[in-house]
Amino acid sequence: MGRCRITSIFISLFLVVILALSAGIFAGAKLSINAESPAEPTLRVATGSPGELGLMDALIKPFEEEYHCQVKVIKASTGQGLDLGRKGEVELTIGHSKEALDRYMAQGYGIDRSPLMHNYFVIVGPKDDPAGIRGFADLTQAHLRIAETGSLYLSRGDEGGMHKREKAIWRELGIAPTSDWYKVSHDFMMASLKMADELGAYHMADSSTWTVMKGKLDNLALLVLGEPNRYEVAAVNPAKFPNVNYKLARQFIEYITSPQGQAIIRDFGKDEYGEPLYYPDAQATHGEQGTLLVYCGAGMRKPMDEIGRLFEDRYGVEVNYNHAGSGQLLSQMQLTKRGDIYMPGATYYFDIAKDKVFIEYHKLVAYHIPVIAVPEGNPANITCLNDLANPGVRVILGDPKACAIGKLADKILEKNGILDEVKKNVIARTVTVNELVLYVSIRKADVSIVWKSSLLEAEDKTDVLEIPEKQNIIRIISIGTLTFSENKDKAREFMDFVTSDEGKAVWEKFGYASYPDGK
């Protein structure tokens, strides 16, 4: 019994010692953490409006928790931010001037440059829109209209990114704004927007700031959604400044360009403002891909097919076309209320779509030129437009309600005063321009009026007669994004791609004159 007792005392003592020791260890550990916290690694990030609008806070929190570090955001315009990098005073710069970043990288200060996200340049202005720029998608065209109408315009005048873009536009247009309609705010974006609101002036801003501010602005409306304003991130090169925390900077870049970081960017502001403020760029090929449905006039099938393929390769977004007569497409859109892009053969249908509020933003793409098409060898000896009225000539035209060329052919004939005579010769009307080319090439008709471009592949079976410019009506092809699109961002990218230099090259290859042009 006695031995038992001694043993139990020893065991108790042992337990007490262990408890005491472990408590000491825990306390020590805790102390050491407290002692370390002021020395937690710090990351300094220079950026402008993404910080101002709160995006950086949303991005930083999960990163700080995961990497036990502190991220400090330094408010700076792109130029200032890059200068801080040049002095080694920050680890990272997030900026939106491609040229400035190009220079920065070339000088060797930057490393690990990566696309991050974008918003859009926008032009806002008085709701009654005296310059008539609503729906333009081209900043330069909109600025031209503002200058032409002498409408009140507010400039930032601060030599920041937005002001630089504005100056480039005036330079491109060759316009020197005059003080009777041109005012300067010398202030930041939010303050400038308020000032424009009070003045009733046009003003160029970015879409994110507009989204945040629009609830507080009574007199302004969003009129022009311009090109994307792309943000990129770059770290400071540790070879230039060994003191910067390059490892942490690198981790931060990896984090904000990861699916997790890009999702935060994509969702930021959605709940509060009903739409995202920024659109992620870094995960374009992994993120939400979706498909685009494009309503495209049947006459433009070939160039658009090629552009669609190029776009798919570039952006990994599948492009599906609905090719039919322009009027037919319009009624399909009306019935289904689905799709992303409308591109009819003539502005007539485009204007109807605009009146029905189907079109959100639009751009001008190329010229569509009507010509006279005859079967090879010209059996009815057609020499000019007036010959269509000769007795016995078999004329075939498009249905004016169904396709753009049908509507336009009637107008051209009317303009030349021969519509009634030619109508007597019309043996049939078709629903698309491609049918007209087919029937002429199999000699079931003597003559037709078609788009020049639609004859490209039928050259060996048809002959072309140009219509003199005085007698002709040349159309400009428009492209627009649809209000009911569920993929507006990608639709917008597609529209921009169609009108890009790469897109224009395709148009010219298929016999169109791209816009703008001397003609």
Binding site: A428, R429, V431
Partner: protein, 283 residues
């Protein structure tokens, strides 16, 4: 005694089991088939009601009264009556020969005559259009037989697509008449033609009527072949189906519905007449 009957009983029992099983299976099977039938009937009805009920009766009447639909009705009636008459006139001797005589290569000819029935009308239309680009077709057009883009093209397209159908109905009608009637008529002094005209033809009156109605109804609805050969030109080659097509793709739903409603009415009417006169076993 008991032992001997046992086998018999067992067999009886087996048969009873089987019939019970069949009954059980039959009842479930019956329920399933009836259910499917009702489902399809309801679906067909829903589709038709959707067409007619899409607009108000006033709008429907207004569209029917419009000059475009009036033109389409007249053109459809005219072309379909002509093409049906042609199909019957030409179909009767052909059907008779196929029913009565042994022609060399009969089965091959039969297949060729029937082929347009199985062929999509669009293909028949493309074929017709291309035929008129050949030297023979061009020559026909030179002489004045103009079919491309003309109402006559509608008649031709309707005829080609529907005549096999007419022939099938007529053939089975002639086959159902015992040739002995004609033999008897011939022994009484009729020539074969007289025997046909006086005996077989009057006897197949009902079949011919049924055949005409069903041919006419599908001629009214013929679209693909007509579109290819005659085109879809407003107020020129615009039949009721072409009118649906043109107005549908230009977004004029009311007009399309008006034309559709008329075609639905015609289909009901002709199916009713067909069922009444064909006795349900015309082909």
């Amino acid at each position: 005694m008991k032992e001997r009957q046992c086998g018999k009983n067992l067999a009886m029992h087996h048969i009873q089991m089987e019939s019970r099983w069949a009954k059980l299976k039959g009842s479930k099977f019956e329920a399933l088939t009836v259910f499917l039938t009702l489902l399809l009937a309801a679906f067909v009805l829903a589709v038709l009601v959707c067409v007619v009920a899409h607009t108000t009766p006033e709008a429907l009447l207004e569209s029917i009264a419009s000059s475009e639909i009036q033109f389409a009705i007249k053109l459809s009636l005219l072309t379909s009556i002509i093409s049906t008459a042609l199909a019957i006139i030409i179909g009767i001797p052909i059907a008779y020969s196929l029913a009565r005589y042994n022609i060399p290569l009969k089965s091959l000819i039969n297949t060729l005559v029937d082929l347009p029935l199985a062929l999509p009308p669009l293909v028949a239309g493309v074929g017709l259009l291309l035929f008129f680009t050949t030297p023979l077709g061009e020559a026909l057009e030179e002489v004045g037989f103009r079919f491309v883009f003309t109402p006559w093209g509608i008649v031709l397209a309707q005829f080609l697509v529907n005549v096999p159908f007419t022939i099938r109905v007529l053939r089975s009608t002639f086959e159902s008449i015992n040739p002995r009637y004609e033999y008897v008529a011939q022994t009484l002094g009729c020539s074969p033609m007289q025997a046909f005209l006086r005996v077989s033809l009057p006897m197949s009156k009902r079949g011919i009527l049924a055949g005409s109605v069903i041919t006419w109804s599908s001629a009214m609805g013929e679209f693909g072949a007509v579109l290819m050969l005659a085109g879809a030109t407003r107020l020129r080659t615009e039949t009721l189906p072409i009118s649906i097509y043109l107005n549908m793709l230009c977004g004029d739903l009311d007009m399309a519905i008006a034309a559709s409603s008329i075609l639905i009415f015609i289909s009901f009417l002709s199916l009713f007449i067909f069922e009444k006169y064909s006795g349900g076993h015309a082909y």
